[in-house]
């Protein structure tokens, strides 16, 4: 037992150490991310000291870019499942060695989600009120309590799967199926649940017509399964570029065909929603009208949403055309999909829900500089975590960091 603990601690120590070692590319990138993280930390310290008044939010628009980014990133975390399913359900060979990169991305994404929720809280020091048993957790009535549970369990599931597989590789052992395969399959269902529950956060509010709509959940899933794998396609290419890890184009093209379908479904669901809102034209269309065309002389979101729709459309066309079998065009399509969906279901979903207010008041929202810096900080934190995870896992997977060479470093 003591020996096993010691072995595991040695493993962790070596993983931790290697995160601080790399070429100049690595140092430059990590230094850059660290600086952005620190800027974000500084901005957050200012927000803690002065209150959320330092953001662009107000009583009329009481959620802003924090919750918008949170919503998008939950989707990214959920989308890891789009690498898991082909491998574990359909026995896809091309993606087999890459599945862990998807799961690690999910871990980094959940860390970002938790950070975005935390920076949105007015009294973050009271987070312990959320801990079941210690505080007073409003489960199962509050959808936010559901979200806290599903996100944390999803984090644990992925940490367990990745940690276990990496530790086995490190020891040169074969992982015991019973100790991780069940978790992989639970994780598949769980991934869908985290994004569905996040959609229900909004859908469950009967007083907000823009959100109180059954199609939000399916749209969340479809857009997540488009944006998430798009991010993975780009991430895999970066891994390929900066390490000796072998990633075939075929693997990227498998992901491409997933995004292809997801993009089409996403656009179809969007069309359903637009029809539902605009063909009947009743009073509850106000928020959608504000988003797409402006309302009572207020137009702040109009250029954004049309940019998003244009990007979505370009991405879909590219993904459908054989053109995107060439990696360069595939990258263009991925970037369009990521940015389009980021706008569409971030700001394009959260903010119009508040405009007009339930009492018909028109107040617009623009994020402040401080708020933007905090967002940048959280994004950098996510990139930093993912980079560190890759820095640790690639040598282990390649066998250059293993129990066999423990004494050598």
């Amino acid at each position: 037992m003591i020996r096993a603990t010691k072995n595991y601690l040695t493993f962790l120590w070596r993983c931790g150490r290697i995160a601080f070692v790399g070429g100049w590319h690595y140092y430059a990138w990590m230094g850059f991310l660290s600086i952005l993280c620190l800027l974000g930390l500084h901005a957050y310290a200012r927000q803690l000291a002065g209150g959320l008044v330092i953001t662009g939010m107000c009583d009329q628009v009481s959620w802003g870019v924090y919750i918008a980014n949170f919503t998008f990133i939950v989707g990214v975390a959920a989308a890891a499942v789009m690498v898991v399913v082909p491998v574990y359900v359909y026995r896809n060979k091309d993606l087999h060695d890459l599945v862990i990169f998807g799961e690690l991305l999910a871990v980094a994404a959940i860390i970002m989600c938790l950070a975005f929720v935390t920076v949105d809280l007015g009294r973050p020091e009271r987070f312990w009120h959320l801990i079941p048993g210690l505080g007073r957790f409003n489960f199962p009535r509050s959808m936010l309590s559901w979200d806290v549970i599903v996100l944390n369990i999803y984090l644990l599931l992925n940490v367990h799967i990745c940690g276990y597989i990496l530790y086995c590789r490190y020891q040169g052992k074969n992982p015991a199926n019973w100790f991780y395969i069940p978790f992989v399959f639970v994780g598949i269902v769980w991934a869908v649940s985290i994004h569905t529950v996040t959609a229900f956060l909004f859908v469950g509010l009967g007083g907000r017509h823009f959100w109180n709509d059954a199609i939000i959940g399916p749209r969340f899933i479809a857009s997540a399964f488009a944006a998430g794998p798009s991010i993975i396609i780009l991430a895999l290419q970066i891994i390929r570029r900066f390490s000796t890890y072998r990633i075939p184009d075929r693997a990227l093209l498998v992901l491409r065909s997933i995004v292809q379908i997801a993009m089409l479904v996403n656009l179809f669901l969007l069309a359903n929603e637009l029809f539902n809102e605009f063909y009947t034209e009743n009073l509850s269309v106000a928020s959608a009208r504000y988003l797409f065309f402006g309302l009572h002389g207020h137009h702040a979101l109009v250029p954004w949403i049309w940019t998003a729709l244009a990007l979505d459309a370009v991405a879909t066309v590219l993904f459908v055309l054989p053109l995107s079998r060439t990696i360069r065009w595939l990258d263009v399509a991925c970037l369009c999909a990521i940015f389009g969906i980021w706008i569409e279901k971030g700001m394009g979903l959260v903010v119009p829900g508040f405009v007009p207010t339930p009492l018909g008041e028109m107040v617009e929202y623009t994020p402040t500089l401080n708020e933007t810096l905090i967002c940048l900080g959280v994004w950098s934190l996510g990139f930093l975590c993912y980079t560190i995870f890759l820095r640790m896992s690639i040598p282990i997977l390649q066998g250059t960091l293993s129990k066999a060479n423990e004494g050598a470093v």
């Binding site: 601080f20 070692v21 790399g22 690595y26 140092y27 990590m30 230094g31 660290s34 600086i35 620190l38 930390l41 500084h42 310290a45 200012r46 803690l48 000291a49 002065g50 209150g51 959320l52 008044v53 009583d59 009481s62 959620w63 929720v117 949105d120 809280l121 007015g122 009294r123 020091e125 009271r126 987070f127 009120h129 959320l130 505080g135 007073r136 957790f137 409003n138 009535r141 509050s142 806290v148 956060l201 469950g204 509010l205 009967g206 007083g207 907000r208 009073l283 829900g353 007009p356 207010t357 339930p358 009492l359 018909g360 008041e361 250059t400 960091l401 060479n405 004494g407 050598a408 470093v409």
Partner: protein, 318 residues
Amino acid sequence: MTGPIPSGDSSQPTAPDSGMSRRSFLRTSVAFASGVAAVAAGLAPLRKLGDYCSVDEFIQKHYQELTPEEMTRVLARIEREVERQYGIRPHVRDYKPMNGVEYVYALNLTRCVGCRRCVYACVAENNQSRNPEIQYIRVLKMPNGTFDLEKGDHNYQPAAVPEKGFFYMPVQCHHCKNPPCVKVCPVKATWQEPDGITVIDYNWCIGCRYCEAACPYWARRFNFTEPSIPADEINPNMSYLGNRPRHKGVMEKCHFCIQRTRAGRYPACLEVCPTGSRKFGNILDPDSEVSYILKNKRVYVLKEELLTLPRFFYYFDI
């Protein structure tokens, strides 16, 4: 500001481990020190936090779990806190609901002239922040012939009210029997009391603003920064669930003047109303004014289709 420089002597895994050389030790130390310094510089604004939260406040239990002795201590602590912040010794009490009482509010839309005296009486009574301004009551100026709230004017400033062709509709917390805000709160920081008042434990709220998004009447307000109230305008008769001063980062809203109504008085907004448009009472008492109104008048329930079952009714004099 500098970022922490990643340390480590060599990326060559084959280098023999002969203990840390002096140079690499120095490098690691410098990197570590500059990392710590950078984080400290990043956190510098926290020096302005002041007395953000005492230990007692941090570990305080939920209102409904406090024993009477603990409550006494909490009330004494809050009195000290208020005195330190505003220089006034307040009287903070924990008023309990009365048996056989369920409060209902009725507002006469035929009579209301939109003078907003209720708004300001509420601010004064309930120690609401003056800067930034927090108000529990929002009065809408509505054109005759519609109840479409989008046609309402929130910021009307005429020389005199009422204006011809308009009616006025004050909106505040509706103290719903089926409250969406209570349903969504992840930590049960807001709940319905037995007398129908929906209250908030300001010391338990985590400030996620989910209730604010859920409320169909836009009745909830968030303290985006520390409230400021001139010391000579503080109302020293306070209650735990009611008008004691709030801190930044928590929600607040109308609580039917809990510190008055549970002591047998009318809410401040009712007392100040010059037209007698506001009626308040016990719906369980068949002889009360509000029982009479709900039985005999034409009543309008705002957003009745949402089935929030408000305890706040609009009525007409016909």
